[in-house]
Symmetry: C2
Subunit: 476 residues, 2 copies
């Protein structure tokens, strides 16, 4: 079978590019019958497991303990039955034991090409070591997927996310470079950069934007305040990762409205780079496809880590098929999604995440017996015409009587009119009750009360003190 040179370790011709008219980077791999692909994936899994067992103490120890050996892998079902999952905590422990890159680094230090990491905002950061072979394969995978979104060498890609530890920006850059497009790696995060980004977008007029949804909306606001119209930047495609949002219809609509451009969701986890392996395409968007021949994704029950049937909710469990430096084999994301199967508008034979990745398993909280995800609240609020763009979700988990408080900014118009403000408050209450079957307290706050962020918004506050204080204030 012609697998367009699909092999492990991956080796791609750096000069390869499909015909400009081709919808697909790798037509065979992207459109083959899913059953054929599954058979090929099994071969890759066998190779990857043998490789990891041979070169990594981490996997050998873990699998020996679990009674798994790569030779036991004879069918795809064996993979979920026999291979234990790993977690971010396992990775952190491995790196504490074997600094700096853990004993799941399968190549010698001398092969390392790039070092990146997690920001470590919670707990010990994790270091990523990527060798040249993997970097080239990542670039190829991202170029391939960006091609699938409709990008071509004539595009100019503006990268508006910090270029530092965060692998998101680097992956987008490597893909744009490999595709043969023009890269404008602007970055983000330093004081004054947002305004300057707006000015450069207006001057250079790139056709593609990469960043987080939160930041893109903040940038649009900043531009408008300076008298620049983001719709005149000439952007055609907005490509997002780093947080949900681009797959939330109301947020997606706001992005389209602000920039007059198409919106693409993408991304799984930094550990899983090439993280674009979950991505929308030109014809299959919104939502994301799972490019199973790059990263094999199982959407699993979060207790058993067995695949849930298509159409059901679960947490993605990821396995690299093209990484040699720090291959992840059954890494639990802790994220939340629904997967589906069947024909896709773009003709690719991959499973789909129609709502993208919309939350975290551990973000879920329970309000009087109802399971609630913050992303569901985000979606409800984003759909309200009077919504001012930011809110905070304050929860308690004190015993059975959990309480939910939503602090919300309306638009300046709504805030300035006592009657409309009251109506807005009731509307929020009603919509939350209707959609989530939960009674929430609503506090309307002044527009621009909450700081806008250059990166991922953190909107959930789980703080009993804060809650008590606000509660008293509201009841007073």
């Amino acid at each position: 079978m012609d697998m367009e040179s699909w092999q492990f370790p991956p080796r791609y011709d750096a000069a390869y590019r499909p015909d400009a008219g081709s919808r697909y980077w790798f037509p065979v791999r992207e459109t083959m019958p899913a059953g054929d692909r599954d058979r090929a994936i099994l071969s890759r899994l066998q190779e990857v497991c043998r490789y990891a067992y041979a070169y990594s103490n981490f996997y050998r120890r873990k699998w020996d303990e679990a009674g798994f050996h790569p030779e036991h892998l004879r069918a795809l079902e064996d993979f979920e039955d026999k291979v234990p999952v790993i977690t971010k905590r396992d990775l952190r422990e491995s790196q504490a034991r074997a600094p700096s890159f853990g004993d799941y680094l399968c190549v010698p230090d001398s092969e390392i090409f790039h070092i990146h990491g997690t920001s470590g905002t919670t707990g010990r950061p994790t270091a990523f070591a990527i060798n040249r072979t993997d970097w080239d394969a990542i670039a190829n995978a991202h170029a391939r997927i960006m091609w699938g979104m409709g990008m071509r060498p004539s595009d100019t890609v503006f990268i508006a996310a910090i270029l530092s530890l965060y692998l998101g920006s680097w992956g987008a850059l490597a893909g744009a470079e490999r595709l043969g497009a023009r890269s404008f790696p602007f970055g983000a995060g330093a004081p004054g950069m947002t305004l300057r980004a707006a000015s450069w977008l207006n001057d250079v007029k790139p056709t593609v934007f990469y960043g987080t949804p939160t930041y893109a909306l903040h940038l649009a606001d900043t531009a408008l305040k300076e008298g620049l119209n983001p719709r005149e930047f000439g952007l055609q495609r907005l490509l997002f990762s780093g947080e949900p949002g681009a797959s939330i219809p109301s947020v997606c609509d706001k992005l389209i409205e602000a920039y007059g451009a198409r919106v693409f969701d993408s991304g799984s986890m930094a550990e899983m780079t090439p993280w674009m392996h979950a991505s929308g395409t030109a014809e299959s968007s919104p939502g994301m496809l799972l490019w199973q021949d790059i990263v094999y994704t199982e959407v699993c029950d979060p207790q058993t880590f067995r695949r849930v049937p298509y159409g059901q909710r679960g947490t993605p469990v990821y396995t690299h098929l093209e990484r040699t430096s720090q291959p992840m084999i059954r890494l639990v994301s802790g994220d939340l999604t629904v997967w589906e199967n069947g024909p896709t508008p773009c003709g690719r034979t991959y499973p789909r995440l129609p709502q993208g990745i919309f939350g975290r398993i551990d973000d879920m909280f329970t309000i009087r017996g109802e399971n609630v995800y913050p992303s569901e609240i985000d979606a409800v609020l984003n759909a309200l015409s009077g919504y001012g763009g930011e809110h905070r979700i304050v929860i308690t988990r004190e015993g059975a009587m959990d309480e939910l408080l939503i602090r919300i900014e309306p638009t300046a118009e709504v805030f300035g009119n006592a009657q409309r403000q009251q109506a807005f408050k009731q509307e929020v209450h009603g919509r939350i009750l209707k959609t989530l079957a939960v009674r929430a307290m609503i506090e309307v706050v002044e527009p621009a009360s909450f700081p806008r962020t250059d990166f991922k918004a953190r909107r959930v506050i789980d703080d009993r003190e804060v809650f008590r204080e606000l509660n008293q204030k509201l009841k007073a």
Copy 2:
């Protein structure tokens, strides 16, 4: 003559690397008799001028007006006699006339690989468009020069300067990647990044650091405050550009003291990327060599733009020999240096800048007939044992009676003792008088009065209001 494939446009084998034991990346090019090199440079200049005349309206217009044609170039002397200089202002005007990249862009838009720019803190920013051929040549040049500093593929390079418009960080990254070293492109500039940089340096222990001298000292302070000792980071080489400092003996000593590592100065201008063409080497440091076969540098009289004799002060005028996308031909830097010739400890046959680039022609001010450069004041203050690390230079240019005020932070010990503070003040006054023949007013301010910066320090304040105010306060 074997020029190690020296040609225009440049074409280098991306797989080439010298033997690990070789001092030189290109032994022939780096050590050839200067006269032979000059003959080869003349050929390159002829090629570059013909190329620019053919592909750039900017140069054709400028040269037609000046009566210069590439065919007139028959000796190296013709170059300084007949080719008009260009300035940053010319570039800005060209970009205003022909957005976004000016009519000195000699390649079609479709060839552009990376877009960067100046930060535009003063006036209209300038956009840089670099094609793939140039990017590869830049990477080769930087790898070559970093090799000359003693770097090898076993090194890990920590890049501690913002990855955005600023080409400094990208050039260091491209060089490290091309050399085969491990790159840790950390960046800088976002809130909290300095502390995190210290933590990652301590964990990963890179061997090479790239940034500005000001930021390296700030980072060392930040680390020490957190109980981390920068000497334990294990850095062996500190590589600087972006501002003078690494060639100022007292600043250099501070950097060595803080990190216990060797210090290398490098860099000319972003427009001149590969900016490392002026750089120290393992054996010829402090100071910088002019790698004349990459960028042809003439240190010139700032009025006539003819070369000054070796041993004299002048402003560097630069010409690219290996750039096809936005080649600079006789770009006036406005910087200030002294150049020398003769044998170098490393055996390279390039001219030297023993004091690096130590100021700006237009930074010069006159105090009662004496020409003073802020860098000279910096050097005097940095050499004082009681100096606390920051100062401001306040000047007026009001008529003949110019005044100079130096506001200086001493160490906490000196500040805390009235007698020592008084002695320090007198010492500053005396040293300035002795070295610069100028009588300055000295104001001792509390340690940490002046903000430390992530990037280039701006210490000169030319503000009559500020001056009058301070003057009155001091005389009161």
